[in-house]
Point group: C2
Chain length 546, copies 2
């Protein structure tokens, strides 16, 4: 008998069967709302697949997207892998030359873009070598170019059942954020993404801290805040569909609009990078919806970067339930979640509580994770010994696209090396203390830039901070903090150092961790995904300790 294939199409068919009536809503800032259902989008995705086929897209072809979190993007998430082609969501915030590099590197055959990016796409076109088909998403606002419009493609397709494909068929590709160097390409099979979806569903349905007990009895709403170009939007479009939740697609991220949606639609769970959470909490319209949001008590899963304690506290005060997720492009993305065991006592003491809350978490099922030394030996689980996180899981990319060298390096010893430096806590949790490439080595010893940043952030005048290692004659490297103050606030280098000295006295950090210099600036350089670009900072300040 033929083996059952783990494919997104099989999941999608199931979702349509069981949850065909459940709402999928597109509620963008511009207000052209679409309230649809899984059943309707199922049919539309079948038409879309057939429409793309008619336009020449064949199994194996790569289809790039440049889009916000729209309902068309949701359809493409199912239609493109479903037809045996490869979905390749592009980060809309990348510089044009990076986009050109990535699209050519990926040999994308089609590019489907939102009208907001029409001018960008016109600029890219002359440089794109493989793209033969452009399709625009006019988003109900009128076409922006002469390329075919996606609704017409849908109309021209027939809702034929998706073809049966093998589970090892590639479903998606994606490129890393390029925080530490040139973006690297990763790819994911249907099998990988189906398993990622199933295990995410177990976690979001059943794990303490992530489950919403009330949501088995009543219909709950999930909002897709993570950009869908960022590692499958962390997989949640698929996960929450499988759980039969209502889903809300808010279009382009707009903090004022988002807080309104949370309040009005009663959004129970969402996820995003720390900056997004910060932007929600400080959105001008937030106070208007504060009461309603408090009543909803939404879970906000922070991932993509560490959750600073200060931000977690601020979020909790505003009625959110902050949670942590950790993952990366290469891992589809989820590796750990900050869930709790049912037996675990959650500490009452504020500091210990937030220590637990903001730790990087526990692996989810099917993730085999270790923190290891250079010899791939597990470091002691003592919360102090530092090592690199290595993993195995069914959803880790098997290789870097077209990069044998980097592949060999990342996979040495049969474990995928994340490049993240962490301590292993006695309870099995990990806590990331740095990226390997950002680690500060002073006199042969490691200093955690993340922990220093976390502490500096507790100073009331500080809005943002990055700590980087700067070359030093005697120690090799010494920490330097680059600080952005809150509007109207003021602080001196000495204020910050004094603030840190309190943590030295309390035994939280050793004295020699104190930065050699505090530099004040008004803006930190960011990467395309909004992460602080420490490469740039290190370059910029490499002379300050000479």
């Amino acid at each position: 008998m033929e083996k059952y294939q783990l494919t997104l199409s099989n999941l999608w068919k199931y979702i349509k069967e069981i949850y065909g009536d459940v709402e999928v809503a597109y509620l963008p800032p511009h207000g052209n709302n679409i309230r649809s259902t899984y059943g309707r989008e199922y049919e539309r995705s079948l038409r879309l697949a057939d429409g793309l086929r008619r336009l020449g897209i064949a199994p194996g072809d790569r289809v790039a997207t440049l889009d916000w979190n729209t309902i068309w993007h949701f359809d493409l998430y199912w239609a493109v892998p479903g037809m045996g082609a490869v979905l390749h969501p592009l980060n809309v915030r990348l510089a044009p030359e990076d986009l050109v590099y990535i699209i050519n590197h990926a040999q994308d055959k089609a590019l489907i873009y939102h009208r907001d990016f029409a001018p960008l796409v016109e600029k890219l076109k002359p440089h794109l070598k493989s793209v033969q088909l452009y399709i625009q998403i006019s988003d109900g606002l009128g076409t922006a170019t002469r390329d075919p419009e996606i609704e017409d493609v849908i109309k021209q397709g027939e809702p034929k059942p998706l073809p049966e494909i093998g589970e090892d068929t590639v479903a998606t590709i994606g490129y890393t954020s390029g925080t530490t160097g040139k973006p690297k390409g990763a790819y994911f099979t249907h099998r990988a993404l189906t398993l990622h979806t199933l295990v995410s569903a177990v976690a979001f349905a059943g794990f303490r801290g992530f489950a919403r007990p009330e949501c088995t009895e009543e219909q709950c709403a999930f909002m897709q805040l993570v950009p869908m170009f960022h590692v499958h939007g962390w997989g949640t479009p698929w996960t929450f569909a499988l759980l039969g939740w209502r889903q809300i697609y808010p279009g382009r991220f707009d903090p004022n609009h988002t807080v309104k949606l949370i309040a009005e639609e009663g959004v129970k769970t969402m996820a995003g990078v720390p900056t997004m959470l910060y932007m929600l909490l400080t959105a001008p319209e937030f106070p208007k919806y504060a009461e309603k949001i408090k009543a909803v008590r939404p879970i906000f899963v922070v991932g993509g970067a560490a959750l600073p304690k200060e931000l977690a506290k601020k979020a909790a005060e505003a009625g959110f339930i902050p949670r942590v997720g950790y993952g990366m492009t290469e891992t589809a993305p989820i590796l750990t979640l900050g869930f709790f065991r049912p037996t675990e006592e959650i500490p009452k003491e504020v500091d210990r509580y937030y220590d637990l809350l903001t730790a990087t978490g526990l692996p989810i099922p099917l993730v085999d994770l270790m923190v290891v030394d250079e010899g791939l030996r597990p470091v002691p689980r003592d919360g102090r010994s530092v090592g690199e996180i290595v993993v195995r899981a069914p959803w880790v990319t098997p290789e870097y696209l077209g990069d044998v060298e980097k592949t060999r390096e990342a996979w040495r010893g049969g474990w995928f090396h994340t490049g993240d430096v962490a301590v292993w806590l006695p309870d099995g949790r990990v806590r990331i203390v740095d990226r390997a490439k950002d680690v500060i080595k002073s006199g042969g010893e490691w200093i955690s830039s993340l922990q220093l940043e976390d502490l500096i952030m507790t100073h009331p005048a500080v809005a943002q901070v990055a700590v980087v290692g700067v070359p030093h004659e005697k120690w090799g490297e010494r920490p330097v903090a680059v600080v952005v103050l809150k509007p109207g606030a003021s602080a001196t280098e000495q204020d910050i150092i004094k603030h840190l000295e309190k943590f030295v006295e309390a035994g939280k950090i050793p004295k020699w961790w104190l930065p050699d210099k505090i530099i004040f600036t008004t803006q930190l350089p960011l990467t395309g995904t909004g992460k602080i670009d420490k490469k740039v900072l290190r370059e910029q300040y490499k002379e300050v300790l000479r």
Copy 2:
């Protein structure tokens, strides 16, 4: 990079890592309680695997068990598949000649038996061709034979990590109950069982009616009531371990002991065949624990046979939450569960409520299910058109062991034919109305024996009933009901027919469904798994309409 393998051993390692401290308790009727943990049993299962290896068990060897729901059985569930061998739990209630047939057919190399079955095993030994190793489980009660004792095997083993094995390695085999003919052998790979576990976990953690919302916040207990020789005890030893629940192994099924455990351990979820539920509700000691059980409100998932409405009501009155599961040996077993959609309105009217509650349910994720006519065309979803349930799922056995003919028949057209006859309801649920082999064909039209039984059961004097088709000159077959009355109750053939006529008047069944004869008896013939043996009844009463 090597592909991650979906194996029970990988799950087991995860469970140990995350839930090592969670209790697994063995609380048998004889009172030699063992309160252990997943962590401890993990280590013991590694030792057990190594001990078995030392005794000559190699990857691929089949290891049969004859055991109750003991903690050793739990260890064997992990150790035997974990070492690459094949677990083969035997139904302890089968006749000796059936056991001989099955063990020889399966070519079991080892037989691990509970001391209660020592006399049986001594009888079997001379007839077993392949068994080279016998191990006894003395259950803390002293050895019963001279065969090695399992605790010694564990002691002699070292807790070496389980070997890495491929996911397509066979993990278990099992034989069907033999309700409709000779037992047929099915087998399951690590991949099949891992996926069955993950999807069951999604359902038991997140599906309405099955999830226990309070159990994400507090430690809850699951009790393994389904005999572990019956299709992996329905997979729950693995599922609830993955969910990190406390588990209770009650040993041999003893209704008085079970109700005590439910009350004292606060068991939140369990599963079993209808007879087990019935036996709990009528257990002499039940009244003693009635109040406590009401406070716990345990879920009881009934599977293996249809849940009669009367039994569901009785269970609900006693404080249980009755639920339905459907599956079979060939399907690992779960295919459908009687869960509700979050959007679904649960009817208030009693009859419609119990109709919904006792329907066979909705497929769980990754189960592709249809009700089809002879030409493999889906029947209309009208709740009336009758067809056979066919399925595809990753956990359906790929073939019948050593039976090419039956394999071809069951898998014709690429779908596994369950042999179960059902109607498809407009909401996507199925309702089994009969087994294909039990269907009554009168004048070319079908009569549902299950539905007639359900209605006859509502007569206050009736304890048990089986309706079978008996040869009839004019109509081909006509229904005959075989009834067991409650102790002390009385009823005549006319009483029963009159009772049924009320349902004819109410339009629930057509008049021509009324049985031609009601036969009273004191006991119905049962199969080894306690199902009513309609083969025997048909043979016994084949002349009554002549």
